[in-house]
Subunit: 129 residues, 2 copies
C-alpha cells in the first residue's frame, strides 16, 4: 500500500492476451467487473477505478486502483487483443488475478512476464561508509 | 489507442525512483500535474484520471489514462520511493514522459526497464498452413 502498511516491494505482471472474442473486449462494465473479481481473488482492495470506452464496438482502456497498487487493461477488439498489467505489493497474489482475467477473456494464447519492483539499487543496498 | 487508430504494439517502461524527497510524493494534485506534463511531452492524449491519496503525509496511487494506454504512479514518501509505469502505443514517446517525471521527482537514483507489448506470439506470427 502506497504510503501505508506495505513495503514498496512488489511484483508487476505484464500479461498479453491474444485471440480473444471481440465481444469480451468492448463492454467497460463487464471489464471492470472482471478486474474487480481478479482483485478479490488476489486478496487486494480497490480504492478507485476509471474505465474509458472508445465507442460502440471499440476498445476499452481502464484501471482499477488498489491499496496494493493497480490492475490496468487496454483492449483492441479488432485485433482480439488485451494488454493487462497487475502490480501488487504486500501479501496480495497478483498471479491469481491474472488467472481470473485469463478465465474471463478465454484467449487462444497469452504470455505473462513478471518484474520485481521497488528493489533497492546497489548504491543504496551497499552504501559507502 | 485501444480499439482505434493504433496497432496494439507498444512500449511499456517500468521506472523505479529512489531517494525522492517525501514532500514530492504526497500531493495528489502536484503528482497529477506532473503526469500530465509527462504525457504532453510524450505526445500522448489523456482520456481520464484517478489519483487516490492515502492521507496527509502518506503516499498517492494514481493513473492517467491515455488514448495511447496509461501512466501510473505509486508513491511511498516514508521510503522516498515512487514506482511509475508508462505504457504507450502508436507514435507517442514514453521515454520522454519518464524524463519529465525524473526531472519532477529529482531522485538520487532510478532504474528503468522497457518491455515490448502486443507482439504476436509465435503461433500467430507463423501459423500452420
Amino acid at each position: 500500500m502506497s504510503g501505508g502498511a506495505h513495503l514498496p516491494r512488489g511484483l508487476h505482471l505484464l500479461a498479453d492476451f491474444h485471440g480473444v472474442d471481440a465481444e469480451r473486449l468492448t463492454d467497460p462494465l463487464a471489464i471492470e467487473t472482471l478486474l474487480r473479481e481478479a482483485a478479490r481473488a488476489a486478496g487486494a482492495t480497490p480504492v478507485g477505478s476509471n474505465f474509458h470506452p472508445f465507442g460502440p464496438g471499440l476498445g476499452v482502456t481502464g484501471v482499477l486502483l488498489l491499496q496494493e497498487s493497480h490492475i490496468s487493461i487496454h483492449t483492441w477488439p479488432e485485433h482480439g487483443f488485451a494488454a493487462v498489467d497487475v502490480f501488487m505489493c504486500g501479501g496480495a497474489r497478483p498471479e491469481r488475478a491474472v488467472d481470473v482475467i485469463e478465465a474471463g477473456l478465454c484467449p487462444t494464447s497469452f504470455s505473462c512476464r513478471d518484474m520485481l519492483r521497488g528493489q533497492l539499487p546497489p548504491s543504496i543496498v551497499s552504501p559507502s561508509p
